[in-house]
């Protein structure tokens, strides 16, 4: 009896090992099968053109900054549509960011009034309290615009900021481009990143009508 039991136990052990072996084979098959599957490749957010520009998600075309700048994109709504960031040499917080924001803070559709509203909240949470250094009427994309230069300091955090903001009339609405450079109080600002920002803004083109332009068309049809 003992011999039979031992034999059965040994057989069970062998069966268990075979089962584990088969399971491992199936698992390995699934694992390597997964590797063999061709996953659809995510399209790049920035597609280069032969004009030395890039196209972002089929919506905008512009000159992108050189290597070293990281793309910031917002796909689910939020504070901005897209932008670029670069960490720079020097102590914290040495960096420059620039963005395109299709819905800048405020509600007025008149440029001067909107700039007043916008500037009350600009870098609101940072504590640097940016002050307007210069405000000038300009044209961007052939549209009336305001260029606003702001600077601020937060001595408690050893931080300062220099910004350039464009508020631009686009149809009935106002859009914005914003560049902000951060430095510690003892370090100098660097004009070079602002050059990339200017190239970005001056080359920026809309390849598709915006949501609000499409809405305007729908509303015209409703009236008609």
């Amino acid at each position: 009896m003992k011999t039979i039991k031992m034999k059965r136990n040994r057989e069970r052990g062998i069966m268990a090992r075979i089962n584990i072996g088969i399971s491992l084979l199936i698992a390995a098959g699934l694992f390597f099968g997964g590797c063999a599957t061709l996953a659809p490749k995510k399209p790049s957010a920035l597609v280069p053109t032969d004009r030395g520009t890039v196209v972002f998600m089929g919506k905008y075309e512009f000159k992108r900054p050189p290597a070293g700048w990281v793309l910031l994109k917002n796909l689910e709504g939020g504070d901005f549509e897209l932008g670029f960031l670069r960490m720079e040499k020097g102590g914290f917080p040495s960096q420059t960011t620039f963005i395109y924001d299709d819905e800048p803070f405020g509600s007025s559709r008149e440029l001067e009034r909107r700039s007043e509203q916008y500037c009350t909240r600009f870098l609101f949470n940072s504590g640097v309290l940016p002050q307007i250094q210069k405000k000038e009427k300009v044209e961007v994309m052939g549209q009336p615009a305001l260029a606003i230069h702001l600077e601020g300091e937060n001595p408690n955090r050893d931080e300062k900021s220099r910004s350039k903001v464009y508020l631009i009339k686009k149809g009935e609405r106002i859009i914005s481009f914003v560049c902000t450079q951060w430095r510690s109080l003892r370090e100098n600002y660097d004009p070079e990143p602002f050059g990339h920002f200017e190239a970005f803004v001056q080359s920026f083109k809309f390849l598709q009508p915006t949501f609000y332009e499409e809405l305007g068309e729908k509303m015209k049809k409703l009236k008609g």
């Binding site: 819905e103 405020g106 809405l215 509303m219 409703l222």
Partner: protein
């Protein structure tokens, strides 16, 4: 709220009116509206019956045992001309979705 103010001219063209509802008192709402340049009314509803009526308490009770109230959640409601709730969305409002919906309501109204 600020985004609603930005789109207020479009709401008006689509025959819609915006009303905000808050549990804050009238004075707090007044300063809040001033700070954001809001031109539409904000109703003060400290005893949150409106929040309860429109289902803005999905996970908690409106009233506590000690007689105070819980804050109601963010909810956007579109009510048509007959007083029927036609659209509900929790959390932050999606203005573009609301505007698209209002266009549909207008199309619907014109077909009748």
């Amino acid at each position: 709220m600020e985004a609603h103010q930005r789109d207020l001219y479009l709401y008006e063209r689509l025959n819609a009116r915006v009303l905000g509802v808050s549990m804050d008192d009238v004075i707090t709402n007044k300063y809040f509206a001033k700070e954001l340049w809001l031109e539409f009314p904000i109703l003060s509803n400290p005893l949150p019956w409106m929040g309860k009526s429109y289902g803005a308490y999905s996970e908690k009770e409106p009233f506590l045992k000690d007689g105070t109230s819980n804050w109601f959640g963010r909810r956007t409601v579109v009510i048509d001309k007959k007083g029927i709730v036609r659209y509900i969305k929790d959390d932050s409002p999606d203005n573009k979705e609301i505007l698209d919906f209002l266009v549909k309501l207008e199309e619907e109204a014109r077909k009748k």
